[in-house]
């Protein structure tokens, strides 16, 4: 079943420059359409500045698009009234784990915030739920009282994930969730996201510029460039066989996994 349907979304940012009469506008998204089926992950690839994060914001309901429609579980997200339940079914994890949390809140209060907003739990129940969530993302109950600065980037991203899954949502927008982590943590977080996906039947919109990370988690793929969705792929193989110039450039830019296959040929000094 289709969980999210994005139809012909167009969005532009405009800026009024001081002392300039003409309004300048920049087309961030042009005529974007795609669907995400329940329990699947769409990997959205593209170079920086392609409009990936803008698209994420539009889907989250944070930025009303100038044109187009977003249907989440059949409801128009930008309709005058939407069911309250719709909001809790969509969560987000951002790239920068530190700026996504309040430095003056403990891990426990960070994770319980969505619970307080949507569920009436007794203090004991809430504490138990937080402990379960911490365990689920690979942290321990003793971490509940710690503050963000006491965690590493990888650990803090786990807390962000715990907060995102606290309400058992249907869709999580993952905006470069592993890009600022080191490789070991990247692999571990991707593994966790994969587990959570099959455990809770989650759907993801995985926004990234990292082809390897996208391949580790996505079922379907899309490539965004200069605000346009240039291609959509039903499978990773379709992406691999694509001959679109943007995709070819991306594939050619992937770094070697071993120095033997490095692309920089000579190691000499010219003078």
């Amino acid at each position: 079943m289709t969980l999210l349907q994005v139809d012909n979304v167009t969005h532009s940012y405009s800026s009024k420059r001081l002392l300039r009469r003409r309004k300048e506008s920049e087309q961030a998204l042009t005529d974007i359409s795609f669907r995400i089926e329940e329990g699947t992950c769409l990997g959205l690839l593209g170079p920086s500045g392609a409009g990936k994060s803008t698209l994420g914001k539009v889907i989250l309901g944070l930025q009303r698009p100038q044109r187009g429609q977003i249907l989440f579980q059949g409801h128009d997200l930008y309709a005058a009234r939407i069911p309250r339940k719709l909001r809790r079914d969509m969560q987000v994890v951002f790239q920068d784990s530190y700026s996504a949390v309040n430095p003056r809140m403990t891990a426990e209060s960070i994770i319980s915030e969505p619970l307080e907003n949507y569920e009436k739990l007794s203090p004991a129940e809430q504490r138990r739920t937080v402990a379960e969530l911490l365990n689920r993302v690979g942290l321990s109950e003793t971490d509940a009282k710690k503050y963000p600065h006491e965690f590493s980037g990888g650990q803090l991203q786990r807390i962000n994930i715990a907060r995102a899954i606290a309400l058992r949502p249907k869709l999580i927008i993952l905006d470069e969730p592993v890009s600022s982590l080191d490789m070991v943590n990247q692999t571990l977080i991707l593994k966790l996201l994969n587990e959570l996906k099959s455990e809770y039947g989650l759907s993801y919109l995985f926004i990234t510029h990292d082809i390897k990370a996208a391949f580790a988690i996505s079922d379907t793929l899309g490539v965004l460039e200069k605000g346009k969705l240039i291609e959509l792929y039903e499978s990773k193989n379709q992406f691999l066989t694509s001959s679109h110039p943007v995709v070819t450039l991306m594939k050619e830019s992937i770094l070697a996994n071993h120095p033997r296959s490095r692309s920089l040929p000579t190691r000499t000094i010219n003078r």
């Binding site: 593209g46 170079p47 920086s48 500045g49 590493s152 980037g153 990888g154 890009s179 600022s180 982590l181 080191d182 490789m183 070991v184 943590n185 990247q186 692999t187 991707l190 510029h209 990292d210 082809i211 390897k212 990370a213 391949f215 580790a216 990773k236 691999l240 450039l249 991306m250 830019s253 992937i254 770094l255 070697a256 996994n257 071993h258 120095p259 033997r260 296959s261 490095r262 692309s263 920089l264 000579t266 190691r267 000499t268 000094i269 010219n270 003078r271």
Partner: protein, 267 residues
Amino acid sequence: MSTDNRSVLKVKDLHVHVNSSQGMSTLVQDINFELEKGKVLGIVGESGCGKTVTSMSILQLLDRKAMTIDGSITLKGQELNGLREQEMRKMRGKDIAFIMQNPMSAFTPVFTIGEQFVETIKSHTAFNTKQAKELAIEALLNVNLPDPAKLLAKYPFHLSGGMLQRVMIAMAACLHPAVIIADEPTTALDVHNQLLVLRHLDQIRADYGTAILLISHDLGVIAEMADDVVVMQQGRIIEAANVFELFDHPQHEYTKTLLNARLQLPF
């Protein structure tokens, strides 16, 4: 002093401690390595292992009141550790350049690229503004940035991360330093810009014989660039080897873990 003239940067028995109210704690210890002319030495390790502290201590950018740096750091035979700030300022940017991970925060937002570029050149040479500008334009052309004259009049926030990173490389390279320290130079960039930036770095290495200390957690970057690799964990060097040797026959368990953490693609 080193008898081998190929060696440009030598770090010997480097220890860095931080003095806090709870006593002294060690950030890095027993760091020894040597960097040769025209070579690339990679430093790998997960976040928090001491990679950046090591590079900051080479540049003498750590807070000397709060931290103690023991050991010897020699650049072309000259001891850097404990050098007076005035002297160190003359070397930074000229003999030893630094490329940071986040180009957005490496520039000040209130001056144009040109003003910052020209200031760097003028503070190390006898050039006048016109000459400095010409050198800046040439350096920007060398890193394939289009229309350098126009670019100089722009502010940092007018440029994308990839372009700014190339400006920073142009700035680092234009005075032909003996050593460039590149701390995660491509982590903030997308795949294509990453490859371009690495190619430019290698070009500079080949053209001027600049030695590069390349700090990265990305083994792809290391595989692409490094001649030798140092693996760090919890403030210590646990393995040092030639890049082929390291990828083919990793000795330490931790190195094996790092290598296994590489994400694979089916092609």
